[in-house]
Symmetry: D2
Subunit: 362 residues, 4 copies
């Protein structure tokens, strides 16, 4: 159904920004996985709002309640249902915009599609829903961890300020998940200036997957790259997704772009670790461009639900740069896609079937 992600492994979510709770059902988790609740909570904490002055002030503890699928700390193979209660809804904040279509938001399109909407905090269209993705992604990461597959992410660009030396190990130490320690101070300054201007700013996020097995991806309508494009391109605020050399390929020649193959592996990695929709064992390199948070307190021209022109001034608590916390969500999405592909790939050849069912091959 259209509210789920994945084929044999994936998530179904529910919940709105200002409802009582959000939830996620993770289906297809193999039995026998140690479910470390602290690890899940740690992933939630990486995304949660209110940690620094440079993200939204909305405080949410984002405590994950696991209601099923785990027994004595180990997955049972049945659906893992998790619920996250909303704690800090201030619905009143939204009274002044309930009849207004905020520019850059889904207010107008939800109204057109459904004729009825929960306007508080954007309802279902709120980035708050991504808490569910991170909870589900944490389960996926635990599976990937078992296979030593690692996913890292960070912010390479904020506004015009771009990283020059990418260091994935630095992001978790940075208040803004910056990938470049030297550039970070000017990126932080740009965010602060943006906040003073009552504005917001765009960002570019990079994600890297290390140690991905060869063979993941189901050509040709569930390619690994196709599904990554969807999973990341379907995130709020994302307007561009690239893999490997990305947009640069448009101006390259074949002899420049093709990655030569040597006995030791690929000489370059313009492919970003994916050939023909299937992982080739090299690092998977992805770049995602986030638009600036549409909620800004600068006055903006818009219309109300009756089509009348109005001036819109958004109060409330918003991220000045949605890409920062977005990078954690990107990791979760990549993890969810990879596990689905990992499980789908187990049946790619008869030799694997034999490994599982142990039969004598005729």
């Amino acid at each position: 159904m259209v509210n789920s992600l994945g084929v044999v492994f994936g998530i179904t979510t529910f919940g709105e920004s200002h409802g009582e709770a959000l939830g996620v059902v993770v289906d297809g988790v193999p039995a026998g996985l140690n479910i470390d609740e602290k690890y899940i909570q740690a992933q939630m904490d990486r995304r949660k709002p209110g940690k620094t002055a440079l993200t939204t002030k909305r405080k949410e503890n984002d405590i994950v309640h696991i209601y099923s699928g785990v027994f004595e700390g180990i997955s049972t193979g049945t659906p893992i249902g998790m619920v996250i209660y909303n704690e800090n809804q201030k619905s009143k904040d939204y009274d002044n915009i309930k009849d207004i279509f905020r520019p850059g938001h889904a207010d107008m399109t939800y109204m057109a599609k459904y004729d009825h909407r929960d306007y508080r905090g954007g309802g279902r269209s709120s980035a708050r829903e991504t808490a569910c993705r991170v909870a589900g992604g944490a389960i996926a990461k635990m599976i990937l961890n078992r296979l030593d597959i690692e996913i890292q992410s960070g912010v390479s660009q904020i506004g015009d300020i771009k990283a020059t030396n990418i260091d994935y190990s630095y992001a978790d130490k940075s208040e803004i998940r910056s990938l470049d320690k030297d550039i970070e101070p000017s990126q932080i300054e740009l965010i602060k200036e943006t906040m003073r201007q009552k504005d917001s700013i765009g960002a570019v996020v990079k994600i890297k997957v290390r140690n991905c097995p060869v063979g993941l991806g189901e050509p040709i309508y569930h390619k690994l790259d196709g599904k990554l494009f969807e999973a990341l391109g379907g995130l709020n605020a994302v307007k561009s997704v690239s893999i490997g050399a990305g947009a640069d390929v448009g101006s390259m020649t074949g002899s420049q772009n093709n990655d030569s193959i040597t006995a030791d592996g690929f000489a370059t990695n313009h492919s970003g670790g994916i050939l023909g929709g299937i992982s080739n064992g090299d690092d998977i390199d992805i770049e995602v461009c986030f638009k600036p948070t549409p909620s800004i307190s600068k006055p903006q021209q818009t219309i109300d639900r009756h089509g009348e022109s109005v001036l819109c001034e958004i109060t409330g608590r918003h991220d000045p740069c949605v890409g920062i916390r977005g990078s954690i969500v990107c990791e979760a999405m990549v993890a969810l896609v990879l596990v689905d592909m990992l499980l789908l790939n187990t049946t790619s050849k008869m030799a694997n079937i034999s490994k599982v069912y142990g039969t004598t091959q005729k």
Copy 2:
């Protein structure tokens, strides 16, 4: 299943580059649609190889045989099965590369995943399969035509040469589907030079959808943009997909990027016609970057299936710039996604259910 695209409307395909035939099953076509076989063939002709000296010399007439789902020229609501016979397979061309992994190709990953592959012309990984997508897309376009929804595409960039004035109406007149008549000659010259160098060149394709109804897209795991990212990002050679302002959003502020709303519509269209994963009625603007064709006749370093280093010289008939014919495939993919979304959206609200079933609403 993983070899299909779409939820209530879509395609399932089969076939390899050098097999006897390719085929596509189009499911979910509403009954009562006039199926104009000439229109389908015209769409096929737009993509087919061998038309100019600037694309592959492989000659394929790509005649579509409709075997089901149409009776007396009108769709019956049952699956439309179409078969395209391969006419011009020269399997011999591939004898010299059957044990070699061509750089930039899926040879290596298919072998790793399946341990057995049809190496002739890349087998299933060949762009030849896109003929099926265009045939299916032609059916989708006939539905869109009924609603006056129009899709156009063309090439905006070849190598470093970029269009400055985009004119979608020109592409169908251009040998290279250029969107800019003034820039076209230098783009053509670049292709010719590339061919002389036994090399290939990348390209950027633009797609525009006009008159798309408001409300298409199923948040939040089957968003319109998410599915477009997948459909286009899953095409051979595509390494980057952008919607609206695309990668530029990374360096914009919210006040720059947000599209003000007036009584007459949006003042700008940075969103590319999609907000919150749902069409907003404005033009849908997409940009897709194609890598240069990996098959080049310049010698390249690679390995064979035994891991031994070899020099690879690809003969055969290849497009110097795969993005040109790729733009037609992009149109097909967009059409397929749009029709699925159009049909899914019919049940977004109870008022629509009443329109169809004509009941008195209590």
Copy 3:
């Protein structure tokens, strides 16, 4: 994914018998539906245990908490997440059987498949999960109610005692959901005798759908009958499902079985309201056979997880006749299937597309 039911409308559930909570996500509910929480609770109450001495003594209030998808009492078109907390888990009851495979239960197969299981009350395999189906089915019924489509059910047979005069209006008044007031006393007596014998008894349930529109069902791999067979045949304890004349067709001739068609409709209804997988407007008649509850307190021969023979005496609180409460679950399943088919059918013909999008048909 395999833990969901439905294509454009349906449910995804989570939860075990003795976990903290169960939950259901209902996807595809059109916006604009009045969500009457009392109606949902009333449906839950029809199924809930502990109401009479003739069903299990486990007391569960089965209060449904709606956490999303509804705003100001009206559906928003987004996923409806509902959670039901378990109140009366007595996990201790199961200590004595945690290493034993109860005959007729899923204990052995879950262990074989997953190597790890929540043995308390059968875990995920417990009929307790059907509470989620009834909650989801209540949403479906609200949609059907809008179209005056009615689903009724009851018990026609308990053990050897069969109803002779079927009266669907009586079932809701009967403690055992009997369809025949005259036969009911002897059916009740049989249940009591069964309980005295520390045994359980099988039952046959009948379901009738009235006023179903013509045209529901998507041939030929999502037929209305095929999906009803699945939805009902996939219920715990169900071993046989029949539609219309059911098993009797095996001994009929074509001239007996074919339903003649007159200007006033079908002369008979051996088809059970479905022809070629599509509803024909006549009543949909279904019969479902439930096996006796496998949990009985009579001693039974079985093995433990080490393969050793043991005698198994099941204590705890079990229905003597699972078919009784099962009939309510059958209604829910039929409702879920019908709404999915209702929504899918909106796009069966171009004329419907026009009704929704209001375009001039060329």
Copy 4:
């Protein structure tokens, strides 16, 4: 999509009774399977019409053309596309019924749903489509054969004449696929008498699966029994499906019905080899009731598409007892379901993931 069967392995089909060709795409076939075309053709021959005087006289050779997915006789893991050309369409036979709704047929419901239909031979609703299922099922059987899983079927009842001693090994030798050599002559006589009466007759088919591994089935919305109910209940003419003790469970007690478990296995097999939706290793026993062929040459009362009463006399070539050839189709359906379940089950536990990816489990 609704025209496909299966999750990771399955079929998508196209084609009508009197179109140019039928086709089937088999997705999810693991690479490395020897594809024995003679075996496929032999399965087709078991189903094909025109073999005896007791089935339809329509002659179809049902030659299967494999167009993809197989290279050098071995599956490549890509979709296997197969086409079967119709050879013996006599469309003229149907001129007299093109405006008439034949009793017991889908004519009326297709017309209501689609407003347009291919009336020749029932179009898509024809049992001719099952040729595709048998072709796809043959691929599935080749996979099952590798694991020594065997499926057998035959006719246990024709009209009132029931087998008393079931012998699956006899069916393939019997002109009517009878399971009981002693009863067969009277069953044949009944068919002949039915033909003399210009009528048709119902039948009951039994299917047995031997050596099925424990653990197949994905609870609780893709149970093995649920999917078998659907796959078989969705076949033309099937009105009842039972597993194990079937309808008899309604009159049994728990102590009678529960299968005791001993160190050597189950003492009885009332469960039909499935517990909690998962195979338990015992034989899977299924019973399917086929209605008599609706096409009979006796005059019948019906209406035409304008609602006028008419008398309908069906000429043409029809099976007197559709259950006979139906038993072969049942085998195919069971095979298709089993392979999907077999592949899905490979990821049920982390231990299997390790077997495939060979990692050290932390």
